[in-house]
C-alpha cells in the first residue's frame, strides 16, 4: 500500500511538473496576439524550439504510462482521489518555478477546486 502511495505521489509530481515545464516553454515563446491559423502555427513552431517543451512532454508521457501501468494492477477508485492534490502541486510550482504571484483569493479558489474534485471522485 505504501509503495502505491509513493508511486502516485511521483505520478502527480512528474505529471504536474511536465505541465509546468510546458508553461515555462510557452512563457519563453511569448503571447499569442491574434487567433489566426498562421499566427498559431508560427507560435507553436517557435515553442517546439524551446527545450522546456521537450522536457515537459517527456515528463507528461512518463506520468501517463506510469498511471496506465498502475491502473493495470490497482483499482481505479483508489487512484483518482489523489489527483486533487495536483492542484496544490501546480500552484506551488507556479510560484516557485514560474514566478507567478498566487494571491489569497486564488488560493481560496484552488482549495475549493481541490475539495470539489475530491467530492466528485468520492461521489462516483
Amino acid at each position: 500500500m505504501t509503495l502505491e502511495y509513493i508511486l502516485f505521489a511521483l505520478i502527480i509530481v512528474v505529471g504536474t511538473g511536465g505541465e509546468l515545464c510546458l508553461g515555462r516553454a510557452m512563457k519563453e515563446t511569448g503571447e499569442l496576439e491574434r487567433f489566426r491559423p498562421l499566427a498559431v502555427m508560427k507560435l507553436l513552431g517557435r515553442a517546439l524550439q524551446v527545450k522546456w517543451i521537450w522536457i515537459g512532454v517527456a515528463m507528461m508521457a512518463t506520468a501517463f504510462f506510469s498511471l496506465l501501468l498502475l491502473l493495470s494492477f490497482e483499482d481505479v477508485s483508489f487512484v483518482f482521489p489523489v489527483t486533487a492534490l495536483s492542484y496544490l502541486v501546480g500552484a506551488l510550482g507556479g510560484i516557485f518555478f514560474l514566478g507567478e504571484r498566487v494571491s489569497w483569493q486564488r488560493w481560496i479558489g484552488i482549495a475549493l477546486v481541490c475539495l470539489g474534485v475530491s467530492l466528485v471522485v468520492i461521489g462516483r
Binding site: 499569442l32 507553436l44 500552484a91 514560474l98 483569493q105 484552488i110 470539489g116 462516483r124
Partner: protein, 137 residues
C-alpha cells in the same frame, strides 16, 4: 471589465473544457468497439491495430485531444499556470453533463455537490488577474 487578455484566455479554457472530455469519451468508445485485444501471435496485434485506427471515432477523439493540448499551450502563452490549471477543472462539469445527457448515467448528489464546489472555486480564481508575470520580451 473584460480585457482582450481575459477574453482570449476564457475562449482557450472553454476549448480545453469542451474538447478534452469529448476526446477522452470518443477514444474510450473507440476502444470498446474494438473488442478484446489479442497480443499473440503478433499478426493478431496488427489486426487489432487496424481495427482501432480504421474507424472514424478514434480519429475524431484524437482531433479533440490535439485541440485540447493546443488550446492549453496557447492559454499558457498568455496566462498563469496557477490560473489555467484550476479553471480547467470545469472539465469535470463537462464530464458530468456528458454522463447524464450522452451516456444516460446517474450522477450522485455528492458528485453534483463536488461540481458546485468546483464552480465556486473557479469563480474565485476568475476574480484574480490571469497573468501575474511580466512578458519576457
Amino acid at each position: 471589465m473584460h480585457s482582450r487578455l481575459h477574453l482570449k484566455t476564457y475562449f482557450l479554457i472553454a476549448v480545453m473544457v469542451i474538447a478534452g472530455p469529448i476526446g477522452n469519451l470518443l477514444i474510450a468508445k473507440a476502444m470498446k468497439q474494438t473488442g478484446p485485444i489479442v497480443y499473440w501471435p503478433p499478426s493478431e496485434l496488427l489486426h487489432v491495430f487496424l481495427r482501432v485506427f480504421g474507424g472514424f471515432t478514434i480519429w475524431a477523439g484524437i482531433a479533440c485531444l490535439i485541440a485540447f493540448i493546443v488550446a492549453f499551450m496557447l492559454a499558457l502563452s498568455m496566462a498563469d499556470y496557477s490560473y489555467v490549471q484550476p479553471a480547467a477543472a470545469l472539465g469535470y462539469v463537462m464530464i458530468a453533463l456528458l454522463g447524464v445527457f450522452v451516456l444516460g448515467e446517474k450522477v450522485s448528489p455528492l458528485h453534483w455537490a463536488g461540481i458546485a464546489v468546483i464552480c465556486l472555486g473557479v469563480s474565485f480564481v476568475r476574480g484574480t488577474h490571469p497573468r501575474t508575470t511580466e512578458n519576457p520580451d
